[in-house]
Protein backbone atom coordinates (compact mmCIF):
# COMPACT_ATOMS: atom_id res chain seq x y z
CA UNK A 1 0.00 0.00 0.00
CA UNK A 2 2.91 2.31 0.74
CA UNK A 3 6.02 2.05 -1.32
CA UNK A 4 9.00 4.12 -0.34
CA UNK A 5 12.11 4.15 -2.40
CA UNK A 6 15.45 5.77 -1.59
CA UNK A 7 14.00 8.60 0.42
CA UNK A 8 16.51 11.33 1.25
CA UNK A 9 15.97 14.35 3.44
CA UNK A 10 18.66 16.79 4.43
CA UNK A 11 18.13 19.80 6.68
CA UNK A 12 20.37 22.76 6.09
CA UNK A 13 20.93 25.26 8.80
CA UNK A 14 23.43 27.84 7.64
CA UNK A 15 26.66 26.03 6.94
CA UNK A 16 25.82 22.77 8.60
CA UNK A 17 23.80 19.96 7.06
CA UNK A 18 21.82 17.32 8.90
CA UNK A 19 21.13 14.16 6.97
CA UNK A 20 17.85 13.15 8.55
CA UNK A 21 17.10 10.43 6.00
CA UNK A 22 19.78 9.06 3.71
CA UNK A 23 18.03 6.64 1.44
CA UNK A 24 15.15 4.90 3.15
CA UNK A 25 13.27 2.25 1.19
CA UNK A 26 10.42 0.17 2.52
CA UNK A 27 7.06 -1.21 1.70
CA UNK A 28 4.06 -1.29 3.97
CA UNK A 29 1.12 -3.58 3.45
CA UNK A 30 -2.49 -2.75 4.27
CA UNK A 31 -3.40 -3.45 7.87
CA UNK A 32 0.15 -3.55 9.16
CA UNK A 33 0.85 -2.25 12.64
CA UNK A 34 4.34 -0.93 12.16
CA UNK A 35 6.66 0.62 14.70
CA UNK A 36 9.52 2.82 13.59
CA UNK A 37 12.08 2.71 16.35
CA UNK A 38 15.42 4.31 16.81
CA UNK A 39 17.37 6.67 18.99
CA UNK A 40 16.69 10.37 19.14
CA UNK A 41 17.63 12.11 15.93
CA UNK A 42 17.53 8.95 13.87
CA UNK A 43 14.87 10.37 11.53
CA UNK A 44 11.64 8.82 12.78
CA UNK A 45 9.64 12.02 12.84
CA UNK A 46 11.06 13.10 9.53
CA UNK A 47 9.98 9.87 7.89
CA UNK A 48 6.47 10.01 9.35
CA UNK A 49 6.08 13.65 8.33
CA UNK A 50 7.02 12.85 4.77
CA UNK A 51 4.67 9.89 4.58
CA UNK A 52 1.99 12.09 6.13
CA UNK A 53 2.41 14.82 3.50
CA UNK A 54 3.41 17.27 6.16
CA UNK A 55 6.93 17.59 4.81
CA UNK A 56 8.75 17.03 1.52
CA UNK A 57 11.62 14.70 0.77
CA UNK A 58 14.59 15.98 -1.20
CA UNK A 59 14.69 12.89 -3.39
CA UNK A 60 13.26 9.41 -3.57
CA UNK A 61 9.79 8.20 -4.28
CA UNK A 62 6.68 7.49 -2.26
CA UNK A 63 3.56 5.85 -3.54
CA UNK A 64 0.58 5.62 -1.27
CA UNK A 65 -2.31 3.58 -2.54
CA UNK A 66 -0.59 3.64 -5.89
CA UNK A 67 -0.44 7.41 -6.07
CA UNK A 68 2.72 9.44 -6.28
CA UNK A 69 2.13 11.95 -3.53
CA UNK A 70 5.10 14.05 -4.51
CA UNK A 71 3.28 15.22 -7.60
CA UNK A 72 0.35 16.53 -5.56
CA UNK A 73 -0.54 20.21 -5.52
CA UNK A 74 -1.11 21.92 -2.19
CA UNK A 75 -4.86 21.45 -2.49
CA UNK A 76 -4.49 17.80 -3.38
CA UNK A 77 -2.22 17.25 -0.42
CA UNK A 78 -4.76 18.85 1.93
CA UNK A 79 -7.49 16.75 0.43
CA UNK A 80 -5.44 13.59 0.74
CA UNK A 81 -4.71 14.27 4.39
CA UNK A 82 -8.33 15.15 5.01
CA UNK A 83 -9.71 12.00 3.42
CA UNK A 84 -7.05 9.34 3.80
CA UNK A 85 -4.78 10.12 6.71
CA UNK A 86 -5.16 10.25 10.44
CA UNK A 87 -2.58 11.82 12.74
CA UNK A 88 -1.78 11.21 16.36
CA UNK A 89 0.87 13.35 17.97
CA UNK A 90 2.96 13.10 21.05
CA UNK A 91 1.38 16.32 22.33
CA UNK A 92 -2.19 15.32 21.40
CA UNK A 93 -2.82 18.63 19.60
CA UNK A 94 -6.50 18.80 20.31
CA UNK A 95 -8.31 22.05 19.58
CA UNK A 96 -8.54 23.49 23.08
CA UNK A 97 -11.91 25.20 22.71
CA UNK A 98 -13.64 22.15 21.34
CA UNK A 99 -15.08 19.35 23.45
CA UNK A 100 -13.97 15.77 22.96
CA UNK A 101 -16.99 15.21 20.77
CA UNK A 102 -16.38 18.35 18.72
CA UNK A 103 -12.71 17.56 18.25
CA UNK A 104 -13.58 14.20 16.77
CA UNK A 105 -16.49 15.53 14.73
CA UNK A 106 -14.21 18.20 13.29
CA UNK A 107 -12.46 15.56 11.18
CA UNK A 108 -15.79 14.66 9.63
CA UNK A 109 -17.02 18.25 9.36
CA UNK A 110 -14.24 18.76 6.84
CA UNK A 111 -15.68 16.02 4.65
CA UNK A 112 -18.96 15.96 2.76
CA UNK A 113 -20.84 13.91 5.29
CA UNK A 114 -24.37 14.37 6.58
CA UNK A 115 -24.83 15.76 10.06
CA UNK A 116 -26.59 12.61 11.11
CA UNK A 117 -23.78 10.37 10.04
CA UNK A 118 -21.23 12.67 11.64
CA UNK A 119 -23.06 12.31 14.93
CA UNK A 120 -23.45 8.54 14.86
CA UNK A 121 -19.88 7.90 13.76
CA UNK A 122 -18.46 10.33 16.32
CA UNK A 123 -20.43 8.83 19.17
CA UNK A 124 -19.54 5.31 18.09
CA UNK A 125 -15.80 5.92 17.91
CA UNK A 126 -15.78 7.80 21.21
CA UNK A 127 -17.38 4.80 22.85
CA UNK A 128 -14.90 2.52 21.16
CA UNK A 129 -11.95 4.42 22.57
CA UNK A 130 -13.56 4.32 26.00
CA UNK A 131 -14.71 7.89 26.35
CA UNK A 132 -18.36 7.27 27.00
CA UNK A 133 -19.52 10.02 29.34
CA UNK A 134 -16.61 12.33 28.58
CA UNK A 135 -17.95 13.50 25.23
CA UNK A 136 -18.69 17.03 26.32
CA UNK A 137 -15.53 17.72 28.22
CA UNK A 138 -12.94 20.17 27.02
CA UNK A 139 -9.40 18.82 26.53
CA UNK A 140 -8.24 20.75 29.58
CA UNK A 141 -10.66 18.67 31.66
CA UNK A 142 -9.27 15.37 30.38
CA UNK A 143 -6.24 13.38 31.50
CA UNK A 144 -3.33 12.86 29.12
CA UNK A 145 -4.47 9.35 28.32
CA UNK A 146 -8.00 10.53 27.67
CA UNK A 147 -6.75 13.29 25.44
CA UNK A 148 -4.74 10.81 23.42
CA UNK A 149 -7.86 8.65 23.12
CA UNK A 150 -9.69 11.64 21.69
CA UNK A 151 -6.81 12.15 19.26
CA UNK A 152 -6.98 8.49 18.22
CA UNK A 153 -10.74 8.72 17.77
CA UNK A 154 -10.25 11.87 15.70
CA UNK A 155 -7.70 10.07 13.51
CA UNK A 156 -9.89 7.00 13.04
CA UNK A 157 -13.36 8.45 12.71
CA UNK A 158 -12.78 9.29 9.07
CA UNK A 159 -11.89 5.63 8.40
CA UNK A 160 -8.52 6.52 7.01
CA UNK A 161 -6.20 4.53 4.84
CA UNK A 162 -3.38 5.11 7.25
CA UNK A 163 -2.85 6.44 10.76
CA UNK A 164 0.49 8.05 11.52
CA UNK A 165 1.36 8.34 15.18
CA UNK A 166 4.58 10.08 16.18
CA UNK A 167 5.54 8.85 19.64
CA UNK A 168 1.93 8.55 20.77
CA UNK A 169 2.89 7.39 24.26
CA UNK A 170 5.86 9.64 24.95
CA UNK A 171 3.85 12.09 27.00
CA UNK A 172 2.09 9.41 29.01
CA UNK A 173 3.08 7.29 31.97
CA UNK A 174 3.90 3.65 31.16
CA UNK A 175 0.57 2.22 32.32
CA UNK A 176 -1.43 4.72 30.30
CA UNK A 177 0.97 4.30 27.40
CA UNK A 178 0.35 0.59 27.38
CA UNK A 179 -3.40 1.15 27.43
CA UNK A 180 -3.08 3.41 24.44
CA UNK A 181 -1.03 0.78 22.59
CA UNK A 182 -3.63 -1.85 23.37
CA UNK A 183 -6.34 0.43 22.09
CA UNK A 184 -4.49 1.13 18.86
CA UNK A 185 -3.80 -2.51 18.28
CA UNK A 186 -7.42 -3.39 18.96
CA UNK A 187 -8.61 -0.77 16.47
CA UNK A 188 -6.06 -2.00 13.96
CA UNK A 189 -7.39 -5.49 14.22
CA UNK A 190 -11.03 -4.50 14.25
CA UNK A 191 -10.99 -2.04 11.36
CA UNK A 192 -7.92 -3.24 9.53
CA UNK A 193 -6.55 0.28 9.60
CA UNK A 194 -2.87 0.58 8.77
CA UNK A 195 -0.82 2.13 11.56
CA UNK A 196 2.68 3.49 11.49
CA UNK A 197 3.98 4.79 14.76
CA UNK A 198 7.34 5.87 16.01
CA UNK A 199 8.79 5.19 19.43
CA UNK A 200 11.93 4.59 21.35
CA UNK A 201 10.14 2.79 24.11
CA UNK A 202 10.83 -1.00 24.12
CA UNK A 203 7.43 -1.66 25.70
CA UNK A 204 5.72 0.02 22.80
CA UNK A 205 7.80 -1.92 20.30
CA UNK A 206 6.44 -5.12 21.78
CA UNK A 207 3.00 -4.31 20.45
CA UNK A 208 4.16 -3.80 16.89
CA UNK A 209 3.57 -6.53 14.36
CA UNK A 210 6.43 -5.13 12.38
CA UNK A 211 9.45 -3.34 13.78
CA UNK A 212 11.62 -1.12 11.65
CA UNK A 213 14.75 0.27 13.26
CA UNK A 214 16.27 3.49 12.04
CA UNK A 215 19.73 4.72 12.78
CA UNK A 216 21.22 7.93 11.46
CA UNK A 217 18.65 8.11 8.69
CA UNK A 218 19.03 4.54 7.53
CA UNK A 219 16.98 1.41 8.15
CA UNK A 220 19.15 -0.99 10.14
CA UNK A 221 16.61 -3.73 10.73
CA UNK A 222 13.09 -4.63 9.64
CA UNK A 223 11.34 -7.60 11.18
CA UNK A 224 7.81 -8.87 11.09
CA UNK A 225 6.46 -10.69 14.10
Amino acid sequence: MITIDALVKTYREGESEVHALRGVSLEIKPGEFTAIAGPSGSGKTTLLNIIGLLDDADSGKILIDGRDIQTFSGKERARFRREKLGFVFQTFNLIPVLTAYENVALALNLLQISAKEIESRTIAILHEVGLKGAENRLPSKLSGGQQQRVAIARALVKRPLLVLADEPTANLDSVTGEEIMKLMLELNKKHGTTFIFSTHDPMVMLYATRLIKLHDGLIVSDERR
Binding site: L54, G74, F80, R82, E83, N93, V97, N109
Partner: protein, 415 residues
Protein backbone atom coordinates in the same frame (compact mmCIF):
# COMPACT_ATOMS: atom_id res chain seq x y z
CA UNK B 1 -18.44 24.67 5.00
CA UNK B 2 -18.84 28.36 5.59
CA UNK B 3 -21.52 27.71 8.14
CA UNK B 4 -19.32 25.22 9.91
CA UNK B 5 -16.44 27.67 9.94
CA UNK B 6 -18.63 30.45 11.29
CA UNK B 7 -19.82 28.17 14.05
CA UNK B 8 -16.27 27.18 14.85
CA UNK B 9 -15.24 30.85 14.93
CA UNK B 10 -18.11 31.63 17.25
CA UNK B 11 -17.23 28.73 19.55
CA UNK B 12 -13.65 29.90 19.66
CA UNK B 13 -14.74 33.36 20.76
CA UNK B 14 -17.25 32.16 23.31
CA UNK B 15 -15.03 29.54 24.90
CA UNK B 16 -11.96 31.75 25.01
CA UNK B 17 -14.09 34.32 26.79
CA UNK B 18 -11.25 35.88 28.67
CA UNK B 19 -9.03 36.23 25.64
CA UNK B 20 -11.90 37.49 23.54
CA UNK B 21 -12.76 40.02 26.21
CA UNK B 22 -9.19 41.24 26.64
CA UNK B 23 -8.68 41.55 22.91
CA UNK B 24 -12.01 43.28 22.46
CA UNK B 25 -11.23 45.62 25.35
CA UNK B 26 -7.89 46.55 23.81
CA UNK B 27 -9.72 47.42 20.62
CA UNK B 28 -12.37 49.24 22.63
CA UNK B 29 -9.75 51.31 24.45
CA UNK B 30 -8.28 52.42 21.16
CA UNK B 31 -11.61 53.30 19.67
CA UNK B 32 -12.94 54.94 22.83
CA UNK B 33 -9.80 57.02 23.24
CA UNK B 34 -9.97 58.19 19.67
CA UNK B 35 -13.63 59.15 19.96
CA UNK B 36 -12.95 61.05 23.20
CA UNK B 37 -9.97 62.98 21.88
CA UNK B 38 -11.74 63.75 18.65
CA UNK B 39 -14.77 64.99 20.57
CA UNK B 40 -12.65 67.25 22.71
CA UNK B 41 -10.61 68.74 19.89
CA UNK B 42 -13.65 69.30 17.68
CA UNK B 43 -15.44 70.94 20.57
CA UNK B 44 -12.42 73.14 21.25
CA UNK B 45 -12.45 74.24 17.64
CA UNK B 46 -16.16 75.02 17.71
CA UNK B 47 -15.87 76.85 20.98
CA UNK B 48 -12.88 78.78 19.67
CA UNK B 49 -14.88 79.93 16.71
CA UNK B 50 -17.84 80.86 18.88
CA UNK B 51 -15.67 82.78 21.33
CA UNK B 52 -13.87 84.50 18.53
CA UNK B 53 -17.21 85.62 17.17
CA UNK B 54 -18.64 86.60 20.55
CA UNK B 55 -15.64 88.43 21.95
CA UNK B 56 -13.18 89.40 19.27
CA UNK B 57 -14.48 89.63 15.75
CA UNK B 58 -18.28 89.64 15.52
CA UNK B 59 -19.45 88.74 12.03
CA UNK B 60 -17.18 91.28 10.44
CA UNK B 61 -15.65 94.71 10.80
CA UNK B 62 -15.29 98.01 9.01
CA UNK B 63 -11.96 99.84 9.25
CA UNK B 64 -10.19 102.40 7.14
CA UNK B 65 -8.06 100.93 4.40
CA UNK B 66 -5.02 102.58 5.91
CA UNK B 67 -5.71 101.00 9.28
CA UNK B 68 -6.15 97.58 7.73
CA UNK B 69 -2.94 97.81 5.74
CA UNK B 70 -0.84 98.12 8.86
CA UNK B 71 -3.16 96.68 11.44
CA UNK B 72 -0.37 94.71 13.09
CA UNK B 73 1.04 97.99 14.42
CA UNK B 74 -2.39 99.07 15.73
CA UNK B 75 -2.33 102.42 13.86
CA UNK B 76 -4.96 104.19 15.95
CA UNK B 77 -4.47 107.42 14.02
CA UNK B 78 -5.98 105.78 10.93
CA UNK B 79 -9.39 105.80 12.53
CA UNK B 80 -12.85 106.16 11.05
CA UNK B 81 -13.72 109.83 11.54
CA UNK B 82 -17.46 110.13 11.54
CA UNK B 83 -18.28 106.81 13.03
CA UNK B 84 -21.67 107.99 14.27
CA UNK B 85 -22.87 108.72 10.75
CA UNK B 86 -21.78 105.32 9.60
CA UNK B 87 -23.34 103.66 12.62
CA UNK B 88 -26.60 105.42 11.83
CA UNK B 89 -26.56 104.16 8.22
CA UNK B 90 -25.84 100.64 9.41
CA UNK B 91 -28.60 100.85 11.93
CA UNK B 92 -30.97 102.16 9.25
CA UNK B 93 -30.12 99.14 7.16
CA UNK B 94 -31.09 96.93 10.08
CA UNK B 95 -27.55 95.87 10.97
CA UNK B 96 -26.26 95.53 14.50
CA UNK B 97 -23.02 97.43 14.91
CA UNK B 98 -20.64 98.44 17.68
CA UNK B 99 -17.76 100.92 17.46
CA UNK B 100 -14.47 100.20 19.19
CA UNK B 101 -11.12 101.87 19.51
CA UNK B 102 -7.93 99.94 19.81
CA UNK B 103 -4.77 101.66 20.94
CA UNK B 104 -1.46 100.74 22.40
CA UNK B 105 -0.78 101.71 25.94
CA UNK B 106 1.02 100.92 29.11
CA UNK B 107 -0.57 100.07 32.42
CA UNK B 108 1.26 101.38 35.45
CA UNK B 109 0.50 100.42 39.03
CA UNK B 110 2.09 101.65 42.24
CA UNK B 111 2.71 100.10 45.57
CA UNK B 112 -0.31 100.45 47.85
CA UNK B 113 -2.86 99.26 47.10
CA UNK B 114 -0.79 97.10 44.77
CA UNK B 115 1.84 94.94 46.44
CA UNK B 116 4.61 96.28 44.19
CA UNK B 117 5.17 98.88 41.49
CA UNK B 118 4.80 97.54 38.02
CA UNK B 119 3.95 98.19 34.44
CA UNK B 120 2.75 96.23 31.48
CA UNK B 121 2.33 96.91 27.78
CA UNK B 122 -1.26 96.33 26.69
CA UNK B 123 -3.77 97.01 23.97
CA UNK B 124 -6.49 99.35 25.16
CA UNK B 125 -9.97 98.80 23.86
CA UNK B 126 -12.56 101.53 23.97
CA UNK B 127 -16.09 100.20 23.97
CA UNK B 128 -19.50 101.76 23.76
CA UNK B 129 -21.25 100.30 26.82
CA UNK B 130 -24.61 100.37 25.09
CA UNK B 131 -23.82 99.43 21.53
CA UNK B 132 -21.13 96.91 22.31
CA UNK B 133 -23.71 94.48 23.58
CA UNK B 134 -25.30 94.28 20.16
CA UNK B 135 -22.22 92.55 18.82
CA UNK B 136 -20.24 91.16 21.73
CA UNK B 137 -21.04 89.31 24.91
CA UNK B 138 -18.51 91.05 27.09
CA UNK B 139 -21.03 92.55 29.47
CA UNK B 140 -22.47 89.15 30.33
CA UNK B 141 -19.12 87.90 31.51
CA UNK B 142 -18.59 90.50 34.21
CA UNK B 143 -17.53 88.55 37.27
CA UNK B 144 -16.94 91.37 39.72
CA UNK B 145 -17.82 95.04 40.09
CA UNK B 146 -19.90 96.75 37.43
CA UNK B 147 -19.72 97.46 33.73
CA UNK B 148 -18.38 100.69 32.24
CA UNK B 149 -20.37 103.92 32.26
CA UNK B 150 -19.94 106.47 29.53
CA UNK B 151 -17.47 109.28 30.01
CA UNK B 152 -15.89 108.10 33.23
CA UNK B 153 -12.20 107.28 33.58
CA UNK B 154 -12.92 103.66 34.28
CA UNK B 155 -11.30 100.42 33.38
CA UNK B 156 -12.47 96.86 33.19
CA UNK B 157 -9.82 94.16 33.22
CA UNK B 158 -9.66 90.58 32.10
CA UNK B 159 -9.52 88.27 35.09
CA UNK B 160 -6.05 86.85 34.43
CA UNK B 161 -4.46 90.21 33.74
CA UNK B 162 -6.09 91.54 36.92
CA UNK B 163 -4.71 88.60 38.82
CA UNK B 164 -1.27 89.18 37.40
CA UNK B 165 -1.33 92.84 38.44
CA UNK B 166 -2.98 91.99 41.74
CA UNK B 167 -5.63 94.48 40.73
CA UNK B 168 -9.08 94.55 42.22
CA UNK B 169 -12.27 96.54 41.88
CA UNK B 170 -11.78 100.08 43.23
CA UNK B 171 -8.03 100.13 42.64
CA UNK B 172 -6.54 103.08 40.80
CA UNK B 173 -4.62 102.42 37.63
CA UNK B 174 -2.50 104.67 35.43
CA UNK B 175 -2.52 104.30 31.69
CA UNK B 176 0.02 105.95 29.46
CA UNK B 177 -0.78 106.18 25.79
CA UNK B 178 -0.43 108.45 22.80
CA UNK B 179 -3.08 110.61 21.19
CA UNK B 180 -3.73 110.28 17.50
CA UNK B 181 -1.80 113.52 17.14
CA UNK B 182 1.21 111.96 18.72
CA UNK B 183 1.12 113.50 22.19
CA UNK B 184 1.66 111.55 25.34
CA UNK B 185 -1.48 111.08 27.34
CA UNK B 186 -1.76 109.89 30.89
CA UNK B 187 -5.06 108.52 32.12
CA UNK B 188 -5.78 108.03 35.78
CA UNK B 189 -8.60 105.54 35.95
CA UNK B 190 -10.27 103.28 38.44
CA UNK B 191 -10.80 99.58 38.02
CA UNK B 192 -14.56 99.15 38.19
CA UNK B 193 -15.01 95.62 37.04
CA UNK B 194 -13.35 92.33 36.25
CA UNK B 195 -14.49 90.12 33.45
CA UNK B 196 -14.17 86.41 33.26
CA UNK B 197 -14.85 85.48 29.67
CA UNK B 198 -14.90 82.02 28.11
CA UNK B 199 -12.33 83.37 25.67
CA UNK B 200 -8.95 83.11 27.40
CA UNK B 201 -7.47 85.87 25.22
CA UNK B 202 -9.91 88.33 26.77
CA UNK B 203 -9.01 87.23 30.28
CA UNK B 204 -5.33 87.37 29.50
CA UNK B 205 -5.20 90.71 27.64
CA UNK B 206 -8.49 92.58 28.04
CA UNK B 207 -8.24 96.23 29.12
CA UNK B 208 -11.48 98.08 28.39
CA UNK B 209 -12.33 101.77 28.74
CA UNK B 210 -15.47 103.73 27.83
CA UNK B 211 -15.39 104.68 24.16
CA UNK B 212 -16.37 108.31 24.59
CA UNK B 213 -13.79 108.86 27.28
CA UNK B 214 -11.09 107.27 25.19
CA UNK B 215 -12.14 109.31 22.14
CA UNK B 216 -11.55 112.43 24.22
CA UNK B 217 -8.24 111.25 25.64
CA UNK B 218 -6.91 110.19 22.26
CA UNK B 219 -8.14 113.37 20.57
CA UNK B 220 -10.41 111.54 18.16
CA UNK B 221 -13.96 112.74 18.91
CA UNK B 222 -16.60 110.57 17.21
CA UNK B 223 -13.78 108.39 15.99
CA UNK B 224 -13.42 104.62 16.15
CA UNK B 225 -10.79 102.32 14.74
CA UNK B 226 -13.28 99.51 14.23
CA UNK B 227 -16.95 99.15 13.66
CA UNK B 228 -17.85 95.59 14.36
CA UNK B 229 -20.98 94.17 12.84
CA UNK B 230 -23.08 91.27 13.92
CA UNK B 231 -25.53 89.53 11.67
CA UNK B 232 -27.10 86.16 11.21
CA UNK B 233 -24.36 83.96 9.78
CA UNK B 234 -26.87 81.96 7.80
CA UNK B 235 -27.34 84.93 5.51
CA UNK B 236 -23.82 86.18 5.04
CA UNK B 237 -24.03 87.21 1.40
CA UNK B 238 -27.10 89.37 1.73
CA UNK B 239 -25.75 91.15 4.79
CA UNK B 240 -22.33 91.70 3.31
CA UNK B 241 -23.97 93.12 0.23
CA UNK B 242 -25.89 95.59 2.39
CA UNK B 243 -22.71 96.67 4.11
CA UNK B 244 -20.84 97.11 0.86
CA UNK B 245 -23.68 99.23 -0.49
CA UNK B 246 -23.39 101.51 2.50
CA UNK B 247 -19.64 101.73 1.98
CA UNK B 248 -20.04 102.50 -1.74
CA UNK B 249 -19.51 106.22 -1.30
CA UNK B 250 -16.90 105.80 1.43
CA UNK B 251 -13.76 104.92 -0.53
CA UNK B 252 -11.59 105.16 2.55
CA UNK B 253 -13.43 102.41 4.35
CA UNK B 254 -13.47 98.72 3.89
CA UNK B 255 -15.42 95.79 5.20
CA UNK B 256 -13.68 92.60 6.26
CA UNK B 257 -15.34 89.37 7.16
CA UNK B 258 -14.55 87.80 10.49
CA UNK B 259 -12.47 85.15 8.75
CA UNK B 260 -10.21 87.86 7.36
CA UNK B 261 -10.08 89.62 10.68
CA UNK B 262 -9.20 86.38 12.37
CA UNK B 263 -6.74 85.45 9.72
CA UNK B 264 -3.91 85.43 12.20
CA UNK B 265 -5.95 83.30 14.45
CA UNK B 266 -7.01 81.14 11.55
CA UNK B 267 -3.42 80.85 10.47
CA UNK B 268 -2.81 79.43 13.91
CA UNK B 269 -5.95 77.42 13.44
CA UNK B 270 -4.53 76.04 10.23
CA UNK B 271 -1.39 75.02 12.00
CA UNK B 272 -3.48 73.91 14.90
CA UNK B 273 -5.72 71.94 12.65
CA UNK B 274 -2.58 70.23 11.47
CA UNK B 275 -1.78 69.83 15.13
CA UNK B 276 -5.23 68.46 15.78
CA UNK B 277 -4.87 66.05 12.90
CA UNK B 278 -1.46 65.16 14.20
CA UNK B 279 -2.75 64.44 17.69
CA UNK B 280 -5.58 62.43 16.21
CA UNK B 281 -3.13 60.61 13.97
CA UNK B 282 -1.00 59.80 17.01
CA UNK B 283 -4.02 58.56 18.91
CA UNK B 284 -5.03 56.60 15.83
CA UNK B 285 -1.59 55.02 15.57
CA UNK B 286 -1.56 54.15 19.27
CA UNK B 287 -5.02 52.64 18.91
CA UNK B 288 -4.12 50.79 15.72
CA UNK B 289 -0.91 49.44 17.23
CA UNK B 290 -2.81 48.32 20.31
CA UNK B 291 -5.40 46.55 18.20
CA UNK B 292 -2.73 45.03 15.95
CA UNK B 293 -0.68 43.83 18.85
CA UNK B 294 -3.53 42.04 20.55
CA UNK B 295 -4.70 40.54 17.28
CA UNK B 296 -1.18 39.38 16.40
CA UNK B 297 -0.84 37.79 19.81
CA UNK B 298 -4.23 36.17 19.50
CA UNK B 299 -3.22 34.51 16.23
CA UNK B 300 0.38 33.64 17.09
CA UNK B 301 -0.80 32.03 20.28
CA UNK B 302 -2.72 29.60 18.14
CA UNK B 303 -0.04 28.60 15.64
CA UNK B 304 -0.21 24.98 16.81
CA UNK B 305 -3.95 24.93 16.39
CA UNK B 306 -3.53 26.39 12.93
CA UNK B 307 -0.97 23.68 12.18
CA UNK B 308 -3.30 20.94 13.41
CA UNK B 309 -6.15 22.23 11.26
CA UNK B 310 -3.81 22.14 8.27
CA UNK B 311 -2.61 18.65 9.14
CA UNK B 312 -6.23 17.54 9.28
CA UNK B 313 -6.59 18.76 5.75
CA UNK B 314 -8.54 21.96 6.22
CA UNK B 315 -8.04 24.13 3.15
CA UNK B 316 -6.00 27.30 3.48
CA UNK B 317 -8.96 29.36 2.33
CA UNK B 318 -11.13 27.94 5.07
CA UNK B 319 -8.48 28.49 7.70
CA UNK B 320 -8.11 32.09 6.57
CA UNK B 321 -11.86 32.57 6.72
CA UNK B 322 -12.00 31.01 10.16
CA UNK B 323 -9.45 33.42 11.56
CA UNK B 324 -10.85 36.41 9.69
CA UNK B 325 -14.37 35.74 10.90
CA UNK B 326 -13.03 35.50 14.43
CA UNK B 327 -11.06 38.69 14.03
CA UNK B 328 -14.06 40.41 12.52
CA UNK B 329 -16.29 39.30 15.37
CA UNK B 330 -13.74 40.40 17.95
CA UNK B 331 -13.39 43.64 16.03
CA UNK B 332 -17.13 44.19 16.09
CA UNK B 333 -17.41 43.34 19.79
CA UNK B 334 -14.46 45.62 20.50
CA UNK B 335 -15.94 48.34 18.33
CA UNK B 336 -19.26 48.13 20.17
CA UNK B 337 -17.47 48.44 23.51
CA UNK B 338 -15.30 51.15 22.02
CA UNK B 339 -18.25 53.22 20.91
CA UNK B 340 -19.88 52.72 24.30
CA UNK B 341 -16.64 53.87 25.92
CA UNK B 342 -16.51 56.77 23.49
CA UNK B 343 -20.06 57.73 24.42
CA UNK B 344 -19.05 57.61 28.09
CA UNK B 345 -16.02 59.83 27.38
CA UNK B 346 -18.15 62.17 25.31
CA UNK B 347 -20.79 62.29 28.01
CA UNK B 348 -18.19 63.24 30.59
CA UNK B 349 -16.70 65.84 28.29
CA UNK B 350 -20.04 67.31 27.30
CA UNK B 351 -21.33 67.50 30.88
CA UNK B 352 -18.18 68.22 32.87
CA UNK B 353 -15.22 68.73 30.63
CA UNK B 354 -11.54 68.69 31.50
CA UNK B 355 -10.23 71.80 33.14
CA UNK B 356 -6.86 72.76 31.73
CA UNK B 357 -7.08 76.44 32.71
CA UNK B 358 -4.27 76.01 35.24
CA UNK B 359 -1.92 75.38 32.38
CA UNK B 360 -3.41 77.77 29.88
CA UNK B 361 -3.27 81.06 31.77
CA UNK B 362 0.13 82.01 30.52
CA UNK B 363 0.37 80.26 27.23
CA UNK B 364 -1.72 80.63 24.16
CA UNK B 365 -2.18 77.26 22.50
CA UNK B 366 -4.30 78.81 19.81
CA UNK B 367 -7.59 77.54 21.10
CA UNK B 368 -9.99 80.22 22.31
CA UNK B 369 -11.10 77.94 25.08
CA UNK B 370 -10.99 79.17 28.64
CA UNK B 371 -11.67 76.99 31.63
CA UNK B 372 -12.72 73.50 30.86
CA UNK B 373 -12.31 71.76 27.52
CA UNK B 374 -15.63 70.24 26.69
CA UNK B 375 -16.71 67.71 24.13
CA UNK B 376 -19.25 67.45 21.40
CA UNK B 377 -21.27 64.46 20.29
CA UNK B 378 -19.31 63.27 17.29
CA UNK B 379 -21.63 60.69 15.80
CA UNK B 380 -19.78 60.59 12.48
CA UNK B 381 -16.52 59.82 14.25
CA UNK B 382 -18.24 57.10 16.24
CA UNK B 383 -19.60 55.45 13.14
CA UNK B 384 -16.35 55.64 11.23
CA UNK B 385 -14.37 54.46 14.28
CA UNK B 386 -16.69 51.52 14.62
CA UNK B 387 -16.02 50.36 11.08
CA UNK B 388 -12.36 51.29 10.96
CA UNK B 389 -11.70 49.51 14.26
CA UNK B 390 -13.41 46.35 13.10
CA UNK B 391 -11.67 46.47 9.73
CA UNK B 392 -8.26 47.01 11.32
CA UNK B 393 -8.81 43.97 13.50
CA UNK B 394 -9.40 41.85 10.40
CA UNK B 395 -6.67 43.43 8.29
CA UNK B 396 -4.15 42.99 11.04
CA UNK B 397 -4.97 39.32 11.49
CA UNK B 398 -4.23 38.71 7.81
CA UNK B 399 -0.54 39.07 8.46
CA UNK B 400 0.01 36.34 11.07
CA UNK B 401 -2.50 33.98 9.45
CA UNK B 402 -0.66 34.31 6.17
CA UNK B 403 2.61 33.72 7.90
CA UNK B 404 1.17 30.67 9.60
CA UNK B 405 0.02 29.33 6.26
CA UNK B 406 3.39 30.03 4.62
CA UNK B 407 5.23 28.04 7.25
CA UNK B 408 5.37 24.31 6.87
CA UNK B 409 2.83 22.42 8.90
CA UNK B 410 5.67 20.86 10.83
CA UNK B 411 6.88 24.29 11.87
CA UNK B 412 3.40 25.34 12.93
CA UNK B 413 3.01 22.24 15.04
CA UNK B 414 6.39 22.63 16.65
CA UNK B 415 5.65 26.26 17.53
Amino acid sequence: MFRFISQLAWKNLMRYKRRTLITALAIAMGIGMYIGVDSMLKSAEQESERNLHDFETGSGVITTKAYWDSKERIPTSEYIEHSNVLLQSLSDAGLQAAPRIQAQGELIVYEDPYPVDGSMRVILTGIDPVRDEKVFKLQKTLSKGRFLKEQNPEVILGSWIAEKLNADVGYPITIVTRTVNGYMQTIDATVVGIIDAPDPVINRTGVYLPLEYLQEMLEMPQGATHIFINFNMSNVNKNEQKINEILLNQPMLMYHSWEKLAEDYLAIAGAKQKGTSFILLLVFIIAAVGISNTMLMAVYERMRELGMLRAMGMEDEDIKNLFFIEAGLIGIIGAVFGVVLGIAFDFYLVTYGFDFSMFLKDIDIGYRVGGAFHGIWNITTMISCFFIGAVIAVLVSIFPVRRGLKKTIVECLRK
